[in-house]
């Protein structure tokens, strides 16, 4: 592919194909895009390098996404918690967002993206943050406190089946399974 970037080893390519939902073309494209994010001198060993979060977010596919920070956080395996991404994390992310990923795995990761405080359930605070992400931070589009309260109440009424005041993964997947559009909209393609 790109002349400046070193090529992905053949066996690694096969392995990635086996471990992700991506096709060979998609992996090669991902590799190219990923090594473009790296500074010139690191391109040689793109497979082992980590790209800081700020660089990852310059990708046009993520730049405008209101959930960009969450996506980085969920898919990063960085030990220091700086949300930097290695190539494999990057592939993981693309695999989940790819066309051929199953709805199950998509909803699993969607849940984790929406779970802002990482506590395993979507509680009121998570939902509030989620709604804020969806409506944007602008003055005129923000919901008032009363509206937010009512909205979250509505959501919980519908989806909190065991009435514990939070939405857990099963309940989330239940809602998602009733919304056929989800699989097609939870998608990022390079």
């Amino acid at each position: 592919m790109g002349g400046s970037a070193s090529l992905l080893p053949r066996e690694a390519l096969g392995e990635y194909q086996e471990l992700t939902f991506l096709s060979k073309q998609e992996i090669l494209l991902a590799y190219k895009r990923f090594s473009e994010l790296l500074p010139k001198e690191e391109r040689e060993n793109a497979c082992s390098a980590r790209v800081p979060k700020s660089r990852i977010l310059t990708l046009p596919e993520l730049r405008a996404n209101p959930f960009q920070h969450r996506i980085c956080h969920v898919f990063s395996t960085s030990d220091d918690g700086d949300d930097s991404m290695s190539f494999e994390d990057f592939l993981d992310m693309l695999s989940v967002f790819s066309d051929s990923a199953t709805s199950d795995i998509k909803s699993h990761y969607a849940f984790r993206i929406f779970d802002f405080d990482d506590d395993g359930t979507l509680d009121r605070k998570d939902l509030e943050k989620l709604v804020n992400c969806l409506t944007g931070q602008g003055e005129e589009s923000r919901l008032s406190t009363a509206e937010m309260e009512q909205l979250i109440q509505n959501i919980l009424e519908e989806s909190d089946i065991d009435k514990d005041g939070t939405i857990n993964l099963s309940e989330f997947q239940h809602v998602v399974s009733r919304s056929p559009d989800f699989a097609s909209s939870f998608k990022i393609v390079l």
Binding site: Y16, E18, L19, T20, S23, K24, Q25, R63, A64, N65, P66, T77, D89, T102, D104, I105, H108, F114, D118, D119, G120, T121, L127, L130, V131, L134, G136, G138, L143, E147, Q150, L151, N154, I155, E158, S159, I161, D162, K163, D164, I167, N168, L169, S170, E171, F172, H174, V175, V176, S177, R178, S179, P180, D181, F182, S184, S185, F186, I188, V189
Partner: protein
């Protein structure tokens, strides 16, 4: 008794909502607390061979602290609460903590609550959940490690299971794990190691044959991979679709996907027709001596009349280039190709509808509007910054509107308003049906007029050619402008939901288009076919050709005027109008109309798909450019998947089924023209087949064909039996569906009841803890874990107003003893000390067991109650 209910959990069809399953079938030890574990749905049917894991599985023990948890374990051997946690040494549940501040341990001990659990939904469907953050786990193969730590053990099971799968299944299962790449690779390597270990035992006498087969399989897979790569390169529009999705979201994208689908569909039909009808005809073609002027491209008459484009040009002879060699019977080729084509179309449509229904209309009434509007609404395809802003603004607008609507709906509509509303509805239906009728009458009048022109003879002058174009132009005008009238009508009626508005408008448009097509078909089959024209099939073919071409031109004009000019006006003259939106419904209906025309025309003009391919490709690019230049993303949240399903359904139901009827009448009932086409001289097109069968009867080798023809195809009895069978099967399935619906309702009720239970018990637990903390501070925990101190209290159940004490008492005596002998034994042994005093003394673990047993008892009582309600005993 309650086994009846338990059956449902084993039912594989319940998997649609499997995430909610609560397994009661297991023994009480395993299932005392079956509620949660944050990231692992507890599912039935885990690996049978691995009991330890199963027991550890549905843990969710209410413990006040970690320390208590471990004491609890020691004191109560009966109840296996040994949690398996992904975090190495800490083994306690994470989600059932009574006190929020204790709920989550400091990050030093827990990375996150994403626990992992293994579930086996169907045979090959593994979902392995686990924290993505890498732990300091090293996979040791020593068996002692596996024994001591349940995590290793589980891993081993998983690896073992994966190793026993076929290659394809294994790859899929590993792909499906929500894991980091590193983790997946480790698992894969272990699995591979396992496999090689196993195969070493067997590989000693691995025959050459299997090696050969494996080699072939590998090379075949490689070939498939490289083929798909090239295919990927061929998908030029891939990028276009991505750009559209990035800016307009999935709803507009669905139009283009539909268009692309139709395009491939037409390419396929072209391939079939061209290879089986046209190529043989080229071999036997006579020279064409008509002149080509250019206007024919528009009218389809003149020069084209003597080409393979039309039915009339095809020969009825048997084509054989080599003397005494194999021959090609044009009649049979024609009828079988067209017949086969329609059968294939039918199957493709049927399967895509079925698939689409299966995916998208799983349970429409359970569609939770508000929740999914938020939880599933974000379109990650959209990457354009402006589009994101706009989408956010629209979403917030919509949320606000919905909220006010909910409040507004509470106000009841007065009777007078309702009457006004209904009468407006009625009036607009009358108006729309009236317009459709008027349009049909107009088209009919014009077409009969047109026929006179044809019959008068082929004057090849400009005037008559222009006159030919009157009918298609008028039809397209009607098709283009009446929908505007309909959408205006729709705005007059005030529909409750936007969805209703869309569906009503689409229904009206479909009625209009289909009735225009119907009247045209009547004209073709009833009047043109009966006229004394030379070759009526060609006339019909030409008519359809013109309709398609003019419709295509109008489509281009429509995007010019409807979108381009509208944008100019919207941005300069009336700024308040703003940018136009892309009208998905209208555009899709235009596509369906064009496709229907193509299908009708295939018999009369086998190469019509070529015209349609060209038209669709141009439409694709024109619409794309027009969309990018002129339009803004749709304001409403559009339930794409369901709309797509309805579009495919519309393509199937009035459109394709209607075409089948038209083709059927033509083939079986109408007399083909005497002087042209492959069926000249026959009484009907179908006669070609019956004549062929008569010839076949003389050959003994082909007796089976004759037998099939006589006993299956022309036999009423066979079809009678077939349709009876189909009816019976349909009825049975229908009954099964009804049963499942009832079951779903019951399960819903059950879940919500158990939720109430859980809340109530938590409440109790909290109050107990508070009570305990006040008299004896931390020291009280010391006595935890003594089995004597656990006292299930009947107080909780009696305090709930909705659960009558009757149920609880009876349950103790009856069902509890039957179903849960162990638990009942425990109950009897401890002897139910009345009151709460002693229960209060008992601390965390003892209390949790009490809660557990109370819970079981309540569940059982609940079940029995339901059973009694649903099936009253005699």
């Amino acid at each position: 008794m309650s086994y009846h209910y338990n059956k449902a959990f084993e039912n594989p069809d319940y998997h649609l909502s499997e995430t909610l399953e609560i397994n009661r079938r297991r023994s009480p030890q395993e299932n005392l607390f079956s509620y949660q574990a944050p990231y692992g749905a507890s599912l039935p049917g885990s690996y049978g061979e691995h009991d330890g894991r199963e027991q550890n599985y549905p843990l969710a023990i209410p413990v006040a602290s970690m320390r208590q948890g471990s004491e609890y374990r020691g004191g109560l051997p009966r109840v296996n609460v040994l949690s398996r946690s992904p975090y190495g040494s800490f083994t306690d549940n994470l989600s059932f903590e009574p006190e929020p501040e204790l709920a989550y341990n400091p990050p030093s001990t827990f990375h996150s609550p994403y626990t992992h659990s293994t579930s086996n939904r169907s045979e090959d469907d593994f979902i392995w959940r686990r924290d993505r953050r890498p732990h300091d786990e090293i996979f040791m193969t020593s068996s002692s490690v596996f024994e001591t730590n349940p995590v290793w053990k589980e891993e081993e099971t998983l690896v073992g299971n994966l190793a026993s799968m076929s290659t394809n299944e294994r790859i899929k299962a590993i792909q499906k794990m929500p894991e980091t790449m590193k983790k997946k690779r480790e698992i894969r390597n272990k699995v591979l190691k396992e496999i090689t270990k196993k195969s070493r035992h067997r590989s000693t006498h691995l025959s050459c044959c299997t090696q050969c087969l494996q080699g072939i399989a590998v090379s075949f897979r490689r070939f498939g991979n490289s083929l798909s790569e090239y295919f990927h390169l061929l998908q030029l529009r891939y990028n276009t679709l991505k750009v559209i999705g990035a800016e307009f979201g999935t709803s507009v994208l669905s139009y283009f996907i539909f268009l692309k689908w139709l395009l491939t569909f037409n390419i396929f039909s072209l391939l079939i027709n061209f290879s089986f009808i046209t190529i043989p005809q080229f071999l036997a073609a006579e020279p064409n001596n008509l002149s080509f002027t250019g206007l024919e491209l528009l009218t389809g008459a003149g020069y084209f009349q003597q080409t393979v484009l039309y039915y009339g040009f095809y020969t009825n002879a048997t084509i054989s280039k080599i003397k005494n060699g194999p021959s090609y019977n044009m009649q049979l080729a024609y009828i079988f190709t067209v017949g086969l084509y329609f059968v294939i179309c039918f199957l493709i449509l049927l399967f895509s509808i079925a698939k689409s229904f299966w995916r998208n209309f799983i349970n429409p009434q359970a569609y939770s509007v508000n929740a999914s509007k938020l939880l599933c609404t974000w379109d990650f395809n959209i990457t354009n910054e402006k589009a994101v802003k706009l989408k956010q603004k629209n979403l917030s607008m919509q949320i606000k509107e919905d909220l006010t609507e909910v409040n507004w709906e509470v106000l009841s509509v007065s009777a007078k308003e309702r009457v006004v509303c209904i009468s407006i509805n009625f009036a607009s239906w009358v108006a729309s049906l009236g317009t459709a009728l008027a349009a049909c009458a107009g088209v009919y009048f014009l077409s009969t007029n047109n026929l006179k022109l044809f019959v008068k003879g082929h004057r090849n002058d400009l005037e008559s050619q222009a006159a030919m174009l009157v009918l298609p132009v008028v039809t397209s005008l009607l098709n283009a402008f009446i929908p505007f009238f309909y959408s205006w009508l729709g705005r007059l009626e005030r529909f409750k939901t936007p969805g209703q508005h869309i569906y009503v408008t689409i229904t009206r448009n479909i009625i209009l288009k289909i009735s225009i097509l119907g009247i045209l078909c009547y004209y073709w089959l009833g009047i043109v076919a009966a006229s004394e024209s030379q070759c009526w099939e060609t006339l019909v073919g030409q008519d359809i050709y013109r309709l398609i071409v003019v419709d295509f031109i109008f489509c281009l004009l429509g995007s010019f005027f409807g979108e381009f000019l509208r944008r100019i006006i919207g941005t300069t003259v009336y700024v308040s109008l703003g940018l136009p939106e892309f009208d998905i419904g209208r555009n899709v209906l235009d596509l369906i109309y064009a496709q229907t025309l193509t299908w009708v025309g295939i018999l009369f003009s086998p190469l019509l798909p070529v015209i349609q391919i060209i038209a669709f490709s141009i439409v694709f690019y024109v619409k794309k450019v027009s969309l990018m230049m002129n339009c803004q993303p749709p304001r409403k949240v559009w339930r794409t998947a369901q709309m797509t399903t309805s579009f495919i359904f519309l393509l199937f139901f009035p459109s394709f089924v209607g075409v089948l009827a038209v083709i059927g009448v033509t083939v079986w009932r109408l007399k083909p023209s005497e002087e042209c086409g492959p069926f000249r001289g026959l009484s009907s097109m179908y006669a070609a087949v019956s004549e062929w069968i008569e010839i076949l009867e003389n050959y003994t080798a082909s007796k089976w064909v004759v037998w099939i023809y006589h006993n299956l195809i022309t036999s009423e009895l066979f079809f009678f039996i077939l349709s009876t069978l189909v009816l019976i099967v349909t009825y049975i399935y229908w009954q099964i569906i009804e049963g499942r619906k009832t079951m779903t309702k019951l399960l819903y009720k059950q879940i919500s009841n158990e939720g109430k239970d859980k809340m109530f018990l938590l409440e109790q637990l909290r109050s107990l803890q508070r009570a305990k903390q006040t008299p004896s501070a931390p020291g009280g925990q010391g006595q935890a874990g003594q089995s004597s101190s656990y006292h299930p209290s009947r107080q909780p159940a009696q305090q709930v107003p909705d659960y009558p004490g009757r149920a609880f008492d009876r349950n103790q005596n009856a069902s509890y003893n039957n179903e849960y002998p162990d638990a009942a034994g425990i109950l009897r042994g401890t002897g139910f000390p009345p009151g709460l005093e002693r229960a209060q003394r008992s601390s965390g673990p003892g209390m949790s067991e009490a809660v557990a047993i109370a819970l079981r008892a309540r569940e059982a009582a609940e079940l029995e109650d339901q059973y009694d309600d649903t099936y009253p005993q005699p």
